[in-house]
Symmetry: C2
Subunit: 417 residues, 2 copies
């Protein structure tokens, strides 16, 4: 891929964004189909490019888990293509009328959805994000400028070349999808301040990246992904249900943002619940960090929990435990340590369920269900670009709708004020 400055990428996106914004559903879907076909047809190229990243990964002693994230096999490439084909089936959002009124003076006002414009995405290792993010942006009528991690640069470049060729063959300008051809910190900073050309920046990654973006970006940002999620097991909880929800939240996929990190347990049920929970979690060798009561009940295998534990998103088979005296104390703890992502109460009390849902300040507040459901697919959005933990614009899973904004269309017959 030719090396182009971030500024030049911005200019190229700006030059074509109106063409994409005005493209018909069919034009966009044709381009998506062309991408899906090309990914499968050019699988060998992708695997070869991916091999270079994998060889570097071995040289750099990357962990096996991280190497697995990098790996692209023909099956995985087929899976990525299938994700793109799924987008084709989703309903068009651009141009939809969200609401409309006729004012007393006869003005007809329509609130319509339009693309955001040009979206920058900074992400880390997984190369599948290159295709997922670009195509989701495209379906919503947005140009994408992607800046992936250096570990996946060879794979990302290959995937981008294939997408650009396919887009062009389908009759849209190839510059609607672009990859930053340089993975230095500098290129990341340039993207964060490309206000004249970028409408939104979405960082996808760990707390370090999110904070760097929040501090440095002059482009409007949608923060995603940091999740220090809790389950509160209330006095009246169905304890079997609570064990299932804690186990699922912790062990089904510990590395994701909607996994739980701390369980809060009402003192009245602690003695009964703790051993039930431990027995289940032991199957996954989950390390517990508990307060005094937890240690007393469960014994020496429980490490002492510190404030740092309660503030940590382990992303691993570790879980902090705290005994509380009331739903109020649980809500207060979550207010201090939570990251406004997903929180759950297990209870049979209507009062406590309603209080928890009303007073917890988070994107998703659950009663008697696992926090692992905070996901665009599980919410029925069909696809997702990330999970927003901020309050402006989008909160929770972001699908096509969240990748659009508003345009008011007003029609009259000469009305003046």
């Amino acid at each position: 891929m030719e090396q182009i400055t971030v500024l030049e990428l911005g200019k190229r996106a700006k030059a074509v964004k109106n063409i994409l914004a005005a493209a018909s559903p069919k034009q966009k879907n044709d381009a998506l189909a062309a991408i899906a076909d090309a990914l499968v047809k050019r699988t060998d190229e992708i695997v070869a490019a991916n091999k270079i990243d994998l060889e570097n990964a071995v040289k750099n002693n990357m962990s096996k888990a991280m190497q697995d994230r990098l790996l692209l096999t023909p099956e995985r490439i087929e899976g990525i293509a299938a994700g793109v084909r799924k987008l084709i089936q989703l309903e068009e959002v651009v141009g939809c009328v969200e609401s409309g009124v006729v004012r007393p003076n006869g003005l007809r006002i329509q609130k319509t959805r339009v693309p955001l414009g040009v979206i920058g995405i900074i992400y880390e290792s997984r190369p599948n994000v290159t295709v997922d993010a670009a195509t989701l942006c495209m379906k919503a009528g947005n140009c994408a400028i992607l800046r992936g991690g250096k570990e996946a640069f060879s794979s990302n470049s290959c995937l981008m070349d294939i997408m650009r060729d396919a887009v062009e063959a389908a009759g849209l300008p190839k510059d609607i999808v672009q990859l930053v051809g340089d993975t230095s910190r500098e290129s990341s900073n340039q993207l964060m301040t490309l206000s004249e050309y970028l409408d939104v920046l979405i960082p996808r990654g760990g707390a370090g990246l999110i904070n760097a973006v929040a501090q440095n970006a002059t482009v409007p940002v949608i923060k995603t992904g940091v999740g220090n999620c809790h389950v509160f097991v209330d006095e009246s909880a169905d304890l079997e249900m609570a064990v299932n929800i804690v186990d699922n939240g912790k062990t089904q996929r510990p590395s994701v943002c909607n996994a739980i990190e701390t369980v809060l347990i009402h003192r009245a049920v602690a003695e009964k619940f703790l051993p039930m929970m431990k027995a289940r979690l032991d199957a996954h060798n989950v390390v517990l960090h508990g307060d005094d009561t937890t240690q007393t009940v469960l014994g020496n295998s429980v490490l002492a929990a510190t404030d740092t534990d309660y503030a940590t998103e382990y992303g691993d088979y570790q879980l902090a435990v705290k005994i509380v005296d009331s739903v109020d104390e649980a809500i207060e703890h979550i207010g201090v340590y939570g990251t406004n992502h997903s929180e759950c109460i297990v209870t049979k009390s209507l009062d406590n369920a309603e209080k928890f849902q009303r007073e917890i300040d988070a994107a998703a507040v659950y009663v008697n269900a696992s926090t692992r459901f905070t996901d665009g697919g599980e919410f029925g959005f069909g696809a997702e670009i990330g999970i927003s933990t901020q309050k402006l614009h989008a909160r929770g899973p972001m699908g096509l709708y969240e990748l659009t904004t508003v345009k008011y269309l007003i029609n009259g017959e000469g009305q003046i004020r």
Copy 2:
């Protein structure tokens, strides 16, 4: 008023924001009614405090127009109180369910509206904004930290004291509305970076303020107010209607952001339209800045328009004029010089109307109506905190709805993934 640091204001707001967020519609409306009553009852105090600002204004040679903006009379105070009473009538937004689904696994997911939390507002001279902004935030369940201009500090302090007393008397914590007790640039910068305590910052003012905020803020920002708006008079326009719309857009209230600054005229009607337009605008002594053709048709009274003219939000009885060859050229001009606020085409052509509405990238795009309608009141929102010219979160007039965000409530019976 006691002098408190901006950080301390943030802490105080955070300490009470959950109380306001959970307040019932009646509690909030009672507080609003108490504020309206107190403003009228304590009119003498307000007028006395305002007199101090007015005396300083005279000392500092403030323009008559600016002095008039500062002035609070008993009638104007009654008007402010009436605005607060109007809020009471508006439908509650907090807690409303925007949409809901039942997923195949039985999970019930509701998308509800909740307050943003704590809103910072930086504004300039008009003291009525102190009450308008604080009460609109309150109705939507948000705490407000206001930072007004130094010219109105005495008036703002008095209005704030009255509101805080009334809120407390009505049974809500007075810290839900606060005024920054220091009008230095430093206090403004502190507010822009109070990320831990502020959920959103809304600057209301000129381009200088908006740009300073965009550059320096780490708090999420909603930009408001800069409007370089255009009317395009198409070949097929009803020229009488076009004159009305241009005249209304320019002269009805030239200082506001939805007033027009440039008129674009299709070459085919320029010779006929220009004299009609000039005759009408002469009644207000509007100064025209035109291109060569305009100068040729209208003669010496027209100044030569420069690129700077086309980029300027005059906010005054001045208007730039440009002759274009097509709707495409008009759209292109607006793309270069527009500020994504409000744009208008006057036409009888369905094709051109649709093309203009589709391709113009602005909050509000008009066909055959004045841009002056871009306003929360005119759109039927009942009240307005400003007009957003950005794409994230809110675009166009911002009412109660735009002062809220999303919370997903998910109820299940033990579902896990």
